[in-house]
């Protein structure tokens, strides 16, 4: 079998490529190829998840380190800064002069003259030979940047950049989208006529301030100019110096990978410079970000994110599908998919959601996340058809036979230890039940057949979301079962109960994540319910029908299911 350059012996991308893929640091063909492979490959999804888990383990380790934490001596430091400020005004000049006078020995003097001569030679060679070459090189780079930009547009991609424009005290931070067609930008209220004039002079289009073509046009317009090209590991900077006029110098920095413009600056004679820099970027497919129905024009870029379409505008099913996933991912990223139990549904044009936030802070975070996604609306309540009846639970007056609360107290040694155990148990069990329920809901929304119908990029995103959720569930369930096991097994031993053999536990072959979640959610609920009943201090009210033997046996069965299946990696991705 012929292996491709990015494949290892087993035909998968090696771990370092997967990491670059996760970090979004792959570009061009490599990015597409690895993304497509990971999209289809359960083993690689698992490896990605392991990489992320490894990092979070390391962060947990770092955060758990006990280190001395001296308070910052801010006042003393502030005084030091002020002293530095006062000294720095005249010390450098004095030290430089002193440095010159130190050249008193003949050897040092010879060295200084030699250095000066060398500088002169270098300067002359740059002046007479280097400049034309640098100019040609600068033109080539700008041509490459133009081709790269055209190629992006030809592939229906959108470059989304967060940029900062600074002039003096004025700082503007905005999002810019470069694509095939972009939204017309309204005038910014922060831009006064003086700044506008300066921008016009420098050929800076506010709709796309980092556009390399604009820089190229400005450069070509300058009659007398010299170019210099400076290369670093990350980028190439073209600096054009102008002999006369209001602008003395302009520069454009392009990223080495992909020739993406990342910074531009313009120096004015007697006025503050304009500095534009990229703060962050990503590349997305055109349709997933921008609704085709939005007001569009043939402008090269925009300083604002696309506006939500007017109410009457049509939204395609594919767009709504992507929007719903955007929302699910956004809620997941702030943990609201589990703790706020969101319900999501769609109309023809809108994705609605209803969530019960844990606190005002989370409520704000949810609202903030939702507001950033077009076509999403928060609803006050969920439609009646989506209301779920909570599963029946055996709560209320009962008595255990024999009362295991006493046995628990005897085992743990004190009432305080029992309370602590039970509190911890409640927190852990409600967490895993909520996680399993959220994953189960996702599985019901995206059953295997439904996922197969999705376009590859959405299929990948659903599976990635499920992988993350399943990974948290596995991790928390493992902790939960581990914390419970010594006590539960001890009780089973004392009562002489063994885990019953149950056909339900014999799950054939590999399960999909949907099937796994559907089985795990009720098992976790049962386990939580039964264990609560076992250890809560005994009560003597009727009905007194619960048997400790039965509860322990049930709990052992649920525990065994979780250990055998939920925590087994074989069942993670099954058929998807």
């Amino acid at each position: 079998m012929n292996r491709k350059p990015w494949q290892d012996r087993d035909g998968h991308p090696p771990a370092d490529l997967l990491l670059l893929h996760l970090e979004d640091e792959l570009e061009g063909r490599a990015a597409d190829t690895v993304r497509q492979h990971v999209n289809q490959c359960a083993a690689c999804l698992l490896a990605c998840e392991q990489l992320e888990r490894g990092m979070s383990r390391f962060i947990a380790f770092r955060d758990s380190a006990v280190l001395p934490t001296p308070a910052p001596r801010t006042t003393a430091f502030h005084e030091r800064l002020l002293r530095t400020d006062a000294e720095s005004s005249f010390i450098p000049a004095i030290t430089r002069l002193r440095g010159l006078f130190r050249l008193n020995s003949p050897r040092r003097l010879a060295f200084a003259f030699g250095g000066a001569f060398l500088c002169l030679v270098v300067w002359l060679s740059i002046f007479f030979l280097g400049t034309p070459r640098q100019s040609v090189y600068a033109s080539q780079i700008l041509d490459d940047a133009r081709s790269a930009s055209d190629s992006l547009i030809a592939h229906s991609k959108v470059l989304n950049q967060k940029i900062r424009l600074r002039r003096g005290n004025l700082v503007i931070e905005r999002s810019v989208h470069h694509g095939r067609r972009t939204v017309v930008q309204a005038q910014d209220s922060n831009i006064d006529s003086q700044l506008q004039q300066a921008l016009d002079l420098a050929h800076i289009n506010l709709n796309d301030p980092l556009n390399s073509n604009d820089f190229a046009d400005w450069r070509t317009e300058q009659r007398e100019h010299t170019d210099s090209v400076k290369e670093t590991a990350l980028g190439v900077t073209i600096t054009t110096r102008v002999a006369g006029g209001a602008i003395t110098e302009g520069s454009l920095t392009l990223s080495r990978a992909g020739w993406r413009p990342i910074a531009r600056s313009v120096e004015f004679r007697g006025e503050a410079p304009i500095e534009i820099s990229e703060l962050g970027y990503d590349i997305s497919d055109w349709p997933s970000l921008m609704p085709e129905s939005a007001t569009l024009a043939a402008a090269p870029g925009s300083l604002t994110p696309p506006n939500p379409p007017a109410a009457a505008a049509e939204v395609s099913t594919a767009e709504l599908e992507a929007t719903e996933l955007d929302l699910r991912e956004a809620l997941h990223s702030i943990g609201a998919d589990v703790s706020a139990a969101p319900v999501i549904w769609r109309s023809e044009r809108t994705v609605f959601f209803h969530a019960v936030a844990e606190n005002p802070r989370q409520e704000e975070a949810i609202r903030d996340a939702a507001n950033r996604i077009p076509h999403v609306k928060e609803a006050d309540k969920q439609p009646a058809r989506l209301l779920e009846t909570p599963p029946a639970q055996t709560w209320g007056p009962y008595k255990t036979t024999p009362p295991l609360a006493d046995a628990l107290a005897a085992k743990l040694g004190s009432g305080r230890a029992v309370r602590s155990f039970l509190d911890s148990f409640r927190v852990r069990s409600s967490r895993v039940v909520a996680e399993a329920t959220a994953l189960d809901q996702l599985g019901k929304r995206y059953p295997v057949d439904e996922i197969k119908k999705l376009p590859p990029d959405l299929r990948f995103r659903v599976n990635r979301l499920a992988t993350n959720m399943l990974s948290s569930l596995q991790h928390d369930s493992a902790d939960y079962v581990k914390s419970l096991s010594p006590t539960l097994d001890g009780m089973a031993h004392d009562l002489n109960i063994t885990a019953p053999v149950d056909d339900n536990n014999k799950v054939p072959g590999c399960l999909t994540w949907q099937e796994n979640a559907a089985l795990a959610a009720p098992q976790l609920r049962n386990l939580a319910n039964n264990v609560s009943l076992l250890f809560v201090p005994n009560q003597t009210d009727t009905p007194a029908a619960l048997s400790a033997d039965k509860l322990v046996a049930e709990s052992l069965r649920a525990k065994s299911f979780l250990e055998l299946h939920l925590m087994s990696t074989c069942q993670l991705f099954g058929a998807n």
């Binding site: 771990a15 998840e49 392991q50 490894g54 390391f58 758990s64 001296p70 800064l81 581990k482 990696t569």
Partner: protein, 171 residues
């Protein structure tokens, strides 16, 4: 330069001190060295801003500057900048981690001990990359700091992350 800038930098100093101090201690600096490095780093930031230049992300900028200052400092003592194996092992061995919460102490302690052992088995350079990655630096930025290729950093980090990730599966 004005008092307003000094107040701004002092504010940043107060805000970032704790985190940078922890980072430097975990990188092998002593408390005194960490304090000196932080002060020097912020002084440079003050001069940098005072000269009219800008810094987009002060924390990243400071981490870079402190990293370079630390390299200079270490090079005065050693030929090569690196946490060598004995230094690194000593650092990890002396590191105490928080006691887990009350009731599952034994299990949680076991887990912590396992992770600590696994971290102790990393190559010192892998550990340093992960520390910076944990501070939010991109692989590209780490590569630039250590003057190596992104590929090198990525290979090194991926290997370490997979080892730590697998460890969790086994636990």
């Amino acid at each position: 330069m004005d008092e307003q800038l000094a107040a701004y930098v002092s504010g940043l100093y107060e805000e970032h001190y704790g985190r940078l101090f922890r980072h430097l201690m975990l990188s092998g600096s002593t408390a005194a060295e960490a304090d000196d490095l932080i002060q020097e780093g912020f002084l440079r930031l003050f001069r940098h801003l005072g000269s009219g230049r800008q810094v987009d992300n002060p924390q990243w900028w400071l981490l870079r500057v402190m990293h370079n200052l630390r390299i200079d400092e270490i090079r005065k003592r050693k030929r090569e900048f690196a946490l060598d194996r004995p230094e690194f092992e000593c650092l990890i061995a002396q590191l105490h981690t928080k006691d887990p919460d009350a009731e599952e102490q034994i299990i949680a302690r076991e887990q912590q001990a396992r992770i600590k052992t696994a971290v102790g088995k990393l190559a010192p350079r892998q550990y340093q990359y992960l520390l910076l990655r944990a501070e939010g630096l991109k692989l590209r930025e780490i590569a630039e700091m250590f003057r190596v290729t992104v590929q090198t950093v990525s290979e090194s980090c991926a290997k370490a992350m997979l080892e730590l990730g697998r460890l969790t599966d086994e636990s």
